[in-house]
């Protein structure tokens, strides 16, 4: 646990990181229950086990940075600043949802916090990140566009097109590969000729390295380093975060392709539990502090569920809204 050897981490920062990992964990566990209760429908992909990645990355960003993620994005959306109420209401298909009930679990969006989805075509949002980076470069904005994707996306052509463009044009984009070792039921070894993903990305002549994605401090540190390399014209960076999902791919997946022992081995490295344990051991937090974080997260999510349950549905008369924009709409 190399990152935990980091000395001098203030208790406050430690608490913030743990708080956000716990918030994601609680949100996701509640989502699973609500899916079983048929409150949430469609595809639902949980981030349980991977919390250290989104948390560490998000804590190293500026609030003005742009973020794009996959359909496994509830945690990223939450930490970018979309309130749990907006996320939950979206999954309930309500009008108060952050996408007005049009998107659901896989398509959370928020213009105010520069959260560009919630994208469910594997690899499809990587070129989008390139374009956002280009717009910032042209405008002289000091912003970074951060793009999360699974290792499965690295087999898609769009990954290669996007990395090539970003490198060629020296764009301020951070590519964050969340390598949880499986794309649905397909393991990395059976889908990639080169399983050293950083090496693969480095072929595009961009700085690329691999990080322990179960260690939130390592993730945050690597992201800070990457961000400082990118800003000021340094061009794109690729980081592979090695992580693991503890749950099945989606609620439809019977998870037949993994050895249960493998899952148990990874669970021993549960990023939330291990970090909390370390913080207590280091006397940065007390057991009561940690309990308080769990309680607060439960309260937050419970309030979101209650609000979502009470929220109105979009009227059917609005069915055809938001297909195309009018000039008046976008200039207001």
């Amino acid at each position: 646990m190399t990152g935990y050897e980091l000395k001098g981490i203030p208790a406050e920062a430690c608490r913030d990181l743990l708080r956000d990992m716990i918030r994601i964990r609680v949100l996701e566990e509640r989502c699973a229950e609500l899916y079983a209760a048929s409150k949430i429908r469609g595809f639902l992909h949980l981030y349980i086990g991977e919390e250290a990645v989104a948390t560490g990355v998000m804590h190293a960003l500026d609030s003005d940075d742009s973020v794009l993620a996959t359909y496994r994005e509830h945690g990223h959306a939450l930490l970018k600043g979309i309130p749990a109420t907006g996320i939950m209401a979206e999954m309930f298909g309500r009008s108060t949802g952050c996408s007005g009930g049009r998107g659901g679990s896989m398509h959370l969006f928020d213009a105010a916090t520069r959260f560009y989805g919630g994208n469910a075509i594997v690899g499809g949002h990587l070129p989008l990140a390139v374009g956002l980076g280009l717009a910032d470069q042209v405008a002289g904005n000091d912003r970074v566009t951060v793009c999360f994707f699974g290792e499965g996306a690295m087999a898609e052509g769009e990954f290669h097109e996007a990395l090539n463009l970003a490198a060629l044009w020296n764009l301020p984009v951070l590519f964050c590969c969340e390598n949880n070792r499986y794309a649905m039921g397909t393991s990395l070894e059976t889908s990639e000729s080169q399983v050293d993903l950083a090496l693969k990305a480095a072929a595009y002549a961009i700085p690329a390295w691999s990080v322990d994605g179960m260690d939130v401090l390592e993730v945050a540190r690597a992201t800070k380093r990457a961000r400082s390399m990118i800003t000021g014209g340094g061009g794109p960076v690729f980081i592979e975060f090695q992580t693991y999902r503890f749950r099945a791919h989606s609620m439809f997946d019977p998870d037949l392709y993994r050895d249960p022992a493998e899952i148990e081995t990874w669970k021993e490295r549960d990023p939330v539990v291990t970090f909390a344990g370390w913080a207590i051991e280091q006397s940065l937090l007390t057991g009561d502090d940690v309990e308080a974080l769990w309680d607060a997260a439960r309260d937050e999510v419970t309030a979101a569920v209650i609000a979502a349950d009470e929220a109105p549905l979009e009227p059917v008369s609005s069915l055809l809204d938001h297909v195309t924009a009018t000039t008046e709409e976008v200039s207001s």
């Binding site: 560009y116 910032d136 938001h322 924009a325």
Partner: protein
């Protein structure tokens, strides 16, 4: 505002439109394969990189999905990209970005985002380029809510539809038929942007409405001239906008002529021609004197050999014959 008309070509008119956009709006960039030094596959953007620099007239690698997606992202980020895809044939490599991303973002985000983007590409057959370089797939794009699809058929529209498309807050797919680039026409150099949702009546007539777009407009006009000599007074409608369709103009015309022929360079089965025929039947059933006729390409990949290609695509003679049968024999 109008000024004295000047003679130009479709290609130059389109270039002038792009030049004006680059000159008047800092947010406009041109992205595409070989748009700079090469001058664009069909020489539309020729020289613009020298005027505006390589950052604004930006060559991309061969990566249709990548640079179309980058255009979408840049539009989200505040730019007004004009993305050039060499031809509609290669746009199939970017279908994912166009259909799954550009067309959906506004809706999926509950109206929070919009994608002000113009994607230009050539379309059409007729140059013996064989099956992989002769597609007319604009009807596919016209199928998709969230997109606008236009097809300027005249030099004047090439000049004046682009500004409207660029001002539109939505993704606009702009089709340029490959046979039109050398087409001469007179344009009003200060004419100003035109409504891109309206069809244009290119020739007024009383006996039949011939409905066409892009390259077929010119064949329809040639057919109308022949028909006039034969005593048939044809009206020619240039759709210009394939999505949305200007149903009112079509219905108004057919209600007067009582006969309709749709001419499509795409295939017949499930083509845009079918949509138009259905629309006319729904709107004008009781005023039609005969069934709506459709002329479209033969159900075959476009062949290389000149005579075969000619037979595969609707020609002036085919239109003349079809109209005569319709107005004289009612079939």
């Amino acid at each position: 505002m109008t000024g004295p008309e000047v003679e130009t070509t479709y290609r130059e008119a389109m270039r002038d439109a792009i030049r004006e956009a680059l000159a008047t709006d800092d947010r406009v960039i041109v992205l595409g394969e070989d748009v700079a030094d090469y001058g664009g596959t069909y020489a539309v953007t020729k020289g613009l990189h020298e005027e505006f620099g390589r950052d604004r007239v930006r060559n991309t690698p061969l990566s249709e999905s990548g640079f179309v997606g980058a255009g979408i992202g840049a539009a989200l980020g505040g730019l007004r990209p004009i993305v050039e895809i060499m031809t509609v044939n290669f746009s199939l490599l970017a279908l994912d970005q166009i259909v799954n991303t550009a067309a959906t973002l506004r809706h999926m985000s509950g109206g929070q985002f919009h994608v002000p983007l113009v994607i230009r590409m050539t379309t059409g057959a007729g140059r013996q380029l064989a099956a992989q370089h002769s597609h007319s797939l604009e009807g596919w794009y016209a199928h998709v809510p969230g997109l606008k699809v236009i097809a300027p058929a005249t030099a004047s529209d090439a000049r004046w539809m682009l500004p409207t498309a660029l001002a539109d807050p939505n993704p606009v797919i702009l089709f340029e038929h490959n046979a039109l680039y050398g087409e001469h026409g007179s344009i009003d150099p200060v004419g100003g942007p035109v409504d891109i949702t309206q069809a244009a009546i290119r020739r007024s007539g009383n006996d039949v409405s011939i409905i066409a777009w892009a390259g077929m407009v010119h064949k329809a006009m040639a057919a109308a001239a022949v028909l006039a000599d034969q005593g048939v007074d044809a009206e020619v409608i240039d759709l210009r906008s394939l999505r949305p369709l200007d149903a009112d103009t079509l219905a108004e015309s057919v209600a007067r002529t009582h006969h309709a022929v749709v001419v499509d360079e795409g295939w017949l089965t499930a083509g845009l021609n079918a949509e138009i025929a259905a629309l006319i039947t729904e709107r004008c059933f009781w005023t039609l004197d005969a069934p709506v006729r459709r002329l479209a390409s033969a159900e075959v990949p476009i062949p290389y050999a000149q005579h075969l290609e000619e037979h595969a695509i609707p020609q002036v003679d085919d239109i003349v014959a079809a109209v005569n049968r319709l107005v004289r024999d009612g079939v």
